[in-house]
């Protein structure tokens, strides 16, 4: 009779209380408060009905958005099918393989607004003969909460920033995160990752394209 429905911010404060706690029980006895409590619990439990690929793509883009909020310069792109390189039909035409890839790279640059240098294709081949002699960069993946992992790498001497590239297993671009000052960064499980260290327009080091382990 004397129950007063709690505001949402008051209700969520009850979440960590044991179910037997008097305040928790009082809230559970009220259908409205209980409905909201159940909503909060459903939120915290996550939604396992979303396809894994969609969730991974969303998490990557939200990671990029978070990096923007926290100061890193990030470019978030809509998932786009990578131009298919070196299709058999191309081989029969006069366009050479390298020229085709270069055109594809130019198209990607035009579409995404990403400035050179640095191709955006995970194969690393779009750069053609201009691949700089950069030092290899080793990536280390460690488990994190949820379906994601943390990727770390050793600092590169002279590097002013790092670019983290994320791709799906099908080589669709998930996100390109520029301006990271260093590791760690969060990546979705199963994503293909590459990190590039640069100083201005000069690339100092780059990792190979490495798959974050599936959880």
């Amino acid at each position: 009779m004397s129950h007063r429905c709690l505001e949402p911010n008051e209700l969520v404060a009850l979440l960590e209380l044991p179910a037997a706690d008097e305040r928790r029980r009082a809230a559970a006895a009220c259908p409205r408060c209980d409905a909201l409590l159940r909503s909060a619990l459903a939120f915290l439990a996550g939604d396992d009905t979303i396809p894994a690929a969609e969730r991974a793509a969303a998490e990557s883009r939200l990671a990029a958005a978070t990096a923007t909020l926290t100061g890193a310069r990030t470019t978030v792109r809509r998932t786009r099918r990578r131009p298919a390189p070196a299709r058999p039909a191309l081989g029969a035409r006069q366009w050479g393989w390298t020229a085709g890839l270069a055109a594809a790279a130019a198209l990607v640059v035009l579409l995404t607004g990403i400035e050179p240098p640095g191709d955006v294709a995970p194969s690393g081949r779009l750069r053609g003969g201009s691949q700089p002699a950069t030092a290899p960069l080793a990536l280390v993946f460690t488990p994190a909460a949820g379906d994601s992992l943390t990727v770390t790498w050793l600092p590169v001497a002279g590097a002013k920033g790092y670019r983290l590239e994320l791709y799906t297993a099908d080589l669709d671009t998930l996100a390109i995160i520029d301006g990271l000052r260093g590791s760690p960064a969060r990546v979705p499980a199963g994503a293909l990752c590459r990190v590039r260290a640069s100083a201005g327009s000069r690339e100092l080091a780059a990792s190979g394209l490495e798959a974050a382990p599936a959880r």
Binding site: N9, V12, E16, P31, A35, A40, T142, A144, T150, R186
Partner: protein
């Protein structure tokens, strides 16, 4: 490496403290903290937006709002609960910006939102109280929960089924239909002239009906 492992082991409150401490560590801590909830925020937004792109936009709005108001988190509620409140608010606003979809739920839609709302100022307080009393007096607790989630939270029917853990074939839809039937009957008994008048209004050309 050790820093990353340390962040992964830190609880939410420790990460918030690291963010408030500023510096480069704050960026990493923010990435870790929000990263723990990206999937949950997106999942919730997806319930209210069937298009993944729209859901993603909504989730980004949530993150922005959370980031801006991070200073207001006092630790009284778990961080995840606090973030749920922000997510819920954003999703409700998004849901209210669109007309309700689906079947005729006019009677349920008449139920007022009990939270402060400028629109509520224009509502008939007596009618509000009467409708809420109808819900309390004539619906069983599970029906009331479903009604609250549908009307107060604007939650899609399928999601209500999941949140309430309903395992009947009709799920929340059946529950809401029963609730609607009960409320309609109860209101007819309470005020038989009102529904007759409303029927006449509804039948009139250009009528918007009344609440």
């Amino acid at each position: 490496m050790s820093e990353a492992a340390g962040l992964a082991r830190a609880d939410d409150a420790e990460l918030v403290a690291a963010i408030r401490g500023g510096g480069a560590a704050a960026e990493a801590a923010a990435g870790e903290l929000f990263g723990r909830y990206h999937g949950r925020v997106y999942g919730w937004c997806r319930r209210y937006r069937h298009d993944p792109e729209q859901a993603l936009d909504l989730a980004q709005d949530v993150l922005l709002a959370a980031w801006r108001s991070l200073a207001t988190w006092e630790g009284k509620a778990p961080f995840g609960g606090w973030l749920f409140v922000i997510t819920r608010h954003a999703c409700l606003r998004a849901a209210r910006s669109r007309p309700p979809a689906g079947e005729d739920e006019s009677l349920l839609e008449e139920l007022p939102d009990p939270r402060p709302d400028p629109a509520a100022v224009y509502e008939d307080e007596q009618e509000r109280a009467a409708l809420l009393a109808l819900v309390r007096d004539h619906l069983d607790p599970q029906e009331q929960r479903a009604v609250w989630l549908r009307c107060g939270e604007r939650m899609p029917v399928d999601e209500i089924t999941r949140v309430l853990g309903l395992d009947t074939a009709s799920g929340a839809r059946g529950l809401l239909q029963t609730a609607r039937r009960k409320l309609r009957a109860a209101r007819s008994r309470r005020d038989p002239n009102r529904d007759a008048a409303r029927g006449a209004e509804d039948a009139a050309p250009g009528s918007e009906g009344s609440t």
